[in-house]
């Protein structure tokens, strides 16, 4: 069958949409990380605004609720001087009859320049990118279980900030990986940037064997998974998973796969602990660790704004 060009890149190989980390060359990722560094310094100035996106309209289309992520995108867009419009399209209102593509067409008629999309179905941003007007850029803020590319980029920025070189690192991702778009994007980014050992840690119901196909080492024992790690990424355990057919209880999960101080002692002494947030204290991570010296969870949030500014400005400057 015909292979199609990656819809994220234009003819010149420049980024016009950010839908997934998959298929993005290392140079593209590195350029975004470098640009993010510049924006980090902007956030320290008195005037935290630059005019790069002035006159542009950024529409936040959140088909799945998330105040946190939406807020960081809004701040990032405003710091680039863009106009931001928030559309909370809860699933029920789409069920009222307007199809996804009708919504997009209507919004395009309102002269949107950029859509930031979060949707519960894997692949939805691809459909949107395919059907919106050619000059409109799409950023995926999370689609189903598939991808959360801006989160992965800020995670990579964090790792680069604290560890420098990716090539000698061992990174452990712990928790509900099979349902996690953050985990998938992190795995692609880490692989592309040259991390040699990536471990997926969790019970078999949440970390099935198929994950090996993505280039990770699957560990069903927390100690084995954490031992000697330079970076530990803890994933949020969602409420739906905690009781029922996948896991018996949050308590049992915490006992075997929660990150406590003594488990952390198995990692390298200068290991960093990351979490995409919001954290469930006492479920995937102990408070002492979340608030401790290894934790870089708060810096992740700061980096998140700069990284999103970098993504938006990079994309906005490239023509379809």
């Amino acid at each position: 069958m015909l292979s199609r060009r990656n819809p994220q890149l234009n003819r010149h190989g420049e980024l016009i949409h950010l839908l997934s980390i998959e298929g993005l060359p290392k140079a593209v990722l590195t350029q975004i990380l470098d640009t993010a560094g510049t924006f980090l310094s902007v956030n320290d100035r008195d005037v935290k605004k630059v005019p790069l996106l002035r006159g542009k309209s950024v529409f936040n289309l959140f088909f799945e609720n998330s105040t946190r992520t939406r807020t960081t995108f809004e701040i990032a867009a405003k710091r680039l001087s863009a106009d931001v419009i928030n559309l909370d399209i809860a699933r029920s209102s789409t069920a009222k009859g307007e199809s996804l593509l009708d919504t997009i067409a209507n919004l395009s008629a309102m002269h949107a320049d950029m859509f930031v999309v979060r949707h519960s179905e894997s692949g939805a941003p691809y459909l949107i990118a395919e059907h919106c007007a050619p000059h409109v850029h799409v950023i995926n803020a999370g689609d189903g279980r598939h991808a959360h590319p801006t989160q992965a980029l800020l995670d990579m920025y964090t790792i680069r900030h604290f560890k420098g070189d990716f090539t000698p690192l061992t990174v452990a991702i712990v928790g509900d990986i099979v349902h996690s778009r953050v985990a998938r994007s992190d795995i692609h980014a880490l692989t592309t940037l040259g991390v040699p050992e990536i471990r997926a840690v969790g019970p078999k119901t949440l970390v099935p064997g198929d994950l090996r196909e993505m280039g990770v080492r699957v560990c069903h024992d927390m100690a084995e998974g954490i031992r000697g790690a330079d970076v530990i990424i803890m994933l949020r355990l969602q409420n739906e998973r905690m009781s029922g057919a996948m896991l018996p209880s949050a308590g049992e999960f915490f006992k075997h796969f929660g990150l406590t101080a003594d488990k952390l002692a198995l990692a390298k002494p200068d290991a960093i602990v990351m979490h995409p947030g919001p954290i469930n204290r006492g479920v995937e991570i102990d408070s002492s660790v979340a608030d401790g010296t290894h934790s870089v969870i708060l810096p992740q949030v700061t980096f998140g704004i700069a990284v999103r500014m970098a993504v938006m400005s990079t994309i906005a400057g490239n023509e379809a």
């Binding site: 420049e14 510049t38 005037v47 400057g317």
Partner: protein
């Protein structure tokens, strides 16, 4: 592209002239800060700062975040980073750049400067003014005034030993 020509531009000689001009502009007052525009201006400001025995450090300013051609050129890689190791509020600033042409880079640099505070005054000294202004911007001092065809690009180079030289390129593409 044609091979680089010097067009009778001796960068080192012009630098000596610039140094003299800047010394006059500073007029012995200690409270004017030098800020070089990345990259050529920053090299000049660094050497001027050392040669004139000024205290502290010169600032570096990047015009990347305030350029007016973002929609056409996009986010160019490696535009340098602004580094201003002193307060801008109430400060007298002398901007240094290598080549002054349309004036748009200076406009962007001034906008960038204003993100950090309100300077008392901003003056400009350049190595070469090649005319062709598109904005109302004039240097207080220029070591040379020349004319070039629009397709020609003039840029400053710095050798490993710190010596300056000029390169002229035809824009082929």
């Amino acid at each position: 592209m044609s091979s680089p020509t010097t067009l009778n531009l001796d960068a080192e000689a012009l630098y000596a002239s610039l140094r003299g001009g800047v010394r006059s502009l500073l007029g012995g007052s200690p409270d004017v800060a030098l800020v070089g525009i990345w990259s050529g201006g920053a090299w000049l400001a660094a050497r001027l700062h050392a040669d004139l025995g000024l205290t502290g450090e010169p600032g570096v300013i990047s015009s990347a975040l305030h350029r007016d051609d973002f929609s056409e050129r996009g986010m160019a890689a490696g535009g340098g980073a602004t580094k201003l190791p002193f307060a801008i509020d109430g400060q007298r600033i002398l901007l240094i750049d290598d080549v002054l042409y349309t004036g748009r880079t200076i406009r962007a640099a001034i906008n960038e400067l204003y993100d950090f505070g309100r300077p008392a005054s901003v003056a400009l000294a350049v190595l070469v003014d090649r005319g062709g202004r598109e904005l109302p911007i004039e240097p207080a001092f220029a070591a040379a005034r020349i004319a070039l065809a629009p397709a020609q690009r003039l840029s400053l180079a710095r050798a490993d030993d710190g010596r300056f030289s000029f390169a002229v390129e035809e824009e082929g593409n």
